[in-house]
């Protein structure tokens, strides 16, 4: 009775309370510094939509029982390849499409990239799921390092793949693909700008949000379908699910593949909003960021929902969006916000691991 906040803290978990308070503190600080709150808020919303699908990739993974999927870089690589192929083929500059509308051409380009990415990701995800079915119990450690390895492996491939478009390769006859590929000539901002409107200084990226919500809705539908429910059951209690006649391994395979596919879609949505595709070590730590986002939203290594994704991504990306300008007010041109990101994102993962009693211990 003495502490009225206690039930609240118990319900949401201490770190979430801290993070929400921190977010509010940042808002207050930004207001105190006379910053343009509306502009910052639109930044938050933009990043929310951009990053949401990558965080959403955690939901099928966690629900099907493989836990936090640090290895979404497997899917990210597929998405990046899709984007590269589309740029190589110059789809966004295709005269007949541009003749109808440049926006249409860009949409065709990004959707085609997503399609290629999804096809690749299904293949990668299937193999990846096969691997994970054989390492039951230590998925998290394995996914992390398999994720790192694929990035390192792709580093070699980025140097060797025979792409020839001037947008992709280094200008002065250097070898390999560029580090950062500008999407200005292809599909930069296509979702963000579609149907975007302004309320005062607040920009609403309608197309982006619609796409994000559409994907969320599809996943929501899937989770409520027969397969989705079977998958959640397989994740929650494999023994019970097996007794009920569910093929646990198949369900895990579906969940892993879906997670990988979402990662491929997610990276392209992220890239179009950001305006650039980052190759090489760029996507290395994206798994950690996504994991942190959904954990902040209230997920655990055993359970994650779309609500967790929505809340978590908004809070995490909001803190990042607000953190940078606010931190710069304290110490100009410092990377205080980067330090903050490291501490928050990894701190929340550690917290989640300590809460997951048992984990992959088998005695």
């Amino acid at each position: 009775m003495r502490n009225p906040l206690k039930p609240l803290v118990d319900k949401f978990g201490l770190p979430r309370v801290i993070i929400v308070s921190f977010f509010l503190l940042l808002v207050v600080a930004a207001g105190g510094f006379q910053m343009n709150l509306m502009q910052l808020l639109s930044d938050c919303v933009r990043r929310w939509g951009m990053f949401g699908i990558l965080a959403l990739a955690m939901v099928p993974a966690v629900q099907c029982g493989i836990g936090l999927n640090f290895g979404i870089s497997m899917g990210i690589v597929g998405g990046l390849l899709g984007g590269l192929i589309v740029i190589q083929l110059n789809v966004a500059q295709n005269p007949s499409l541009v003749a109808i509308s440049p926006l249409l051409a860009a949409w065709v380009a990004v959707l085609l990239a997503i399609l290629i990415g999804v096809v690749l990701a299904i293949g990668i995800g299937y193999l990846y799921g096969q691997l994970l079915n054989r390492v039951k119990g230590s998925e998290m450690t394995v996914t992390t390092y398999v994720g790192f390895s694929i990035i390192a492996f792709m580093n070699i491939l980025w140097m060797l793949l025979p792409f020839s478009n001037g947008e992709l390769i280094w200008p002065n006859a250097g070898k390999g693909l560029r580090n950062t590929i500008s999407l200005a000539a292809s599909f930069s901002g296509v979702m963000n700008n579609t149907l975007a409107f302004k309320i005062g200084a607040l920009t609403v990226p309608t197309g982006l949000l619609l796409f994000f919500f559409l994907i969320c809705f599809l996943i929501w539908l899937f989770m409520r379908s027969k397969t989705g429910i079977a998958m959640s059951a397989a994740g929650a209690n494999p023994m019970f699910a097996k007794a009920a006649g569910i093929n646990v391994n198949k369900m895990r395979l579906i969940g892993t593949t879906l997670s990988t596919v979402l990662a491929a879609v997610g990276i392209l949505v992220y890239a179009q909003g950001f305006g650039f595709m980052q190759l090489y070590n760029g996507p290395m730590m994206m798994g950690f960021t996504s994991v942190a986002a959904v954990l902040i939203g209230g997920a655990s290594p055993k359970r994650a929902s779309i609500t967790h994704v929505l809340i978590g991504t908004f809070l995490f990306q909001g803190i990042l969006a607000l953190g940078l300008p606010v931190a710069n007010q304290f110490i100009p041109e410092s990377n205080l916000s980067e330090v903050m990101r490291l501490i928050i994102s990894n701190g929340i993962i550690i917290y989640a691991l300590t809460q997951a009693k048992g984990g992959d211990s088998r005695e």
């Binding site: 640090f70 054989r134 039951k136 230590s138 070699i156 060797l160 903050m340 501490i343």
Partner: protein, 499 residues
């Protein structure tokens, strides 16, 4: 016999694969051995200590300790502070060690506590903890040093006075502090240490009213005195006055030591056989009986290695390599420490905990405490290892020196054939040799093969990640197999990665 050979090959498949890779890459790089080998020995001196620091947690069942990054950070905090306070030379190095030890004990304690909260998830936990600690570390070095704690030193701090510079030059402070301790000094210190040890143990035994083996004590003291006395002979003194030992001399000394050691063993076995009688049974049980065949093999090996030094190609390499004596002694001492620890009660407890926490608990071992102690050991050793690394490199990259420490150390250990559950000194040392050979030659091989050194660099990074991924996957793969007693071939991990 054939099956046995196949088993040996299968068990050592990782090592064999990497031996082939190393030899192939060395040939492809078209570098002379006079370049590769000295470079390799420098890297062995730098990196062995920290790799050996990984062994204790593996034995205690905590898997590959990704948390050694935190030990490295403790070392860097210490070295920054001692540099700021202006300590130099070997004294400065010892001061840094003295400062790093309590810091890393504290960190190791915290890490151990945390790992006890996430049993079974230590590896991923350690990895994330490394990144988390990185954040804290940057907070300390970028904002607290200078921002909260006023530090005034323009060569170390960023111009604004808040935050530490990117690189700190250790050239005038502790660079080569440990590497350049002359052998004379080492022997002198060793002599005094032996004397002190003997006196202390004698007094201890007298106080406890135990019988003192006077003959043995006096013999040991005399031996120490003789060795010390030898250093006053002109040529010997000249030879020992240097701080580096030529690899050729090291090999010659090694061969000589093997011969003397075998001779001593032989004499001892003859003596005990003479005295024997009733005692023999008791002594025989404790001391291994003299194995003539083994001794002969050892002697033969020594002779062959000694003979090989006369091959001109090898001779050329051997006279180029200069070993920093003290550093190698430290590495050797750590190997001995790891072995001795396993013979103590604590080491046995660790082993039991590593095999099964339930059994250990039932046997009355305090599992949590044992695990914390293992973590403290590992963190402290890692911090010393990082200090050895830094004093050899000579510059401290404030925000980068520690980031890859865990990664590379673990990869090296695994390349040597260790696994998540089993690691030995030999595997660690072999792993360092193989991994760092690959590290040296792969950019050059990449340049020769693909016309671009970057590909070689990416390749070695891929190897370091890939080998860890493979080891982890194989570890997890084997467990269900063990339960079901199925023999599935556990190496599809690589294939899936490459897909």
């Amino acid at each position: 016999m054939n099956k046995k050979l196949r088993d040996v090959l299968f068990q050592n498949k990782v090592v064999i694969l990497f031996i082939f890779l190393c030899v192939g890459a060395t040939i492809a790089s078209k570098q002379p051995l006079t370049f590769v080998i000295p470079e390799l020995f420098t890297r062995i001196a730098r990196n062995s200590f920290i790799v050996l620091a990984l062994i204790i947690p593996v034995i205690a069942g905590m898997g590959l300790n990704f948390g050694i990054v935190i030990g490295a950070m403790a070392a860097q905090i210490a070295i920054f502070l001692t540099t700021y306070w202006g300590f130099t030379g070997i004294g400065g190095f010892m001061a840094t060690v003295a400062l790093a030890t309590p810091i890393s004990i504290f960190f190791g304690f915290l890490v151990g506590k945390l790992f006890n909260q996430m049993k079974g998830n230590e590896m991923i936990g350690g990895l994330v903890l490394g990144y988390f600690a990185e954040g804290i570390y940057q907070l300390i070095f970028l904002f607290i040093f200078g921002g909260v704690i006023a530090l005034n030193n323009p060569t170390l701090m960023i111009a604004t006075g808040v935050g530490v510079k990117n690189t700190i030059d250790l050239k005038d402070t502790v660079k080569y502090a440990l590497d350049t301790v002359p052998m004379l000094t080492i022997i002198e210190i060793g002599f005094y240490l032996v004397l002190i040890g003997l006196v202390c143990s004698t007094i201890f035994k007298l106080a406890k009213k135990q019988t003192v083996d006077w003959k043995k004590t006096i013999l040991s003291a005399a031996a120490a005195l003789v060795v010390y006395g030898l250093t006053y002979i002109g040529p010997v003194e000249q030879f020992l006055a240097k701080d580096r030992l030529m690899l050729l001399s090291a090999i010659e000394l090694g061969c000589l030591a093997t011969v003397i050691w075998q001779a001593l063993k032989f004499v001892r076995s003859k003596l005990s056989a003479g005295n024997a009688g009733a005692l023999d049974a008791a002594v025989g049980a404790v001391r291994k009986p003299f194995n003539g065949k083994r001794a002969l093999v050892n002697l033969g090996l020594a002779a062959v290695i000694y003979g090989l030094t006369y091959v001109p190609a090898l001779y050329k390499v051997l006279i180029v390599v200069q070993l920093p004596v003290m550093t190698y002694l430290c590495i050797g001492a750590l190997c001995c420490f790891n072995n001795i620890l396993m013979k103590t009660r604590l080491g046995q407890n660790m082993r039991t905990v590593g095999q099964s926490r339930t059994v250990a608990n039932a046997a009355g071992i305090n599992v949590d405490k044992t695990r914390i102690i293992a973590m403290i050991f590992s963190t402290v050793l890692a911090s010393w290892g990082q200090l050895i690394f830094l004093q050899n490199v000579g510059t401290l990259s404030t925000y980068g020196a520690h980031t890859q420490v865990g990664q590379f150390a673990i990869a090296a250990l695994l390349v040597g054939g260790a696994s998540v559950q089993k690691a030995t000194n030999k595997q660690a040392l072999l792993g360092i040799v193989l991994f760092h050979t690959l590290f040296i030659v792969s950019p050059l091989a990449g340049k020769e093969l693909f016309g671009d050194p970057v590909i070689g660099e990416y390749f070695r990074v891929f190897v370091s990640y890939g080998v860890i991924a493979m080891a982890l996957a194989m570890h997890a793969w084997k467990r269900p197999v063990k339960e079901k007693v199925e023999t599935e071939k556990p190496d599809d991990g690589k294939k899936v990665e490459a897909a």
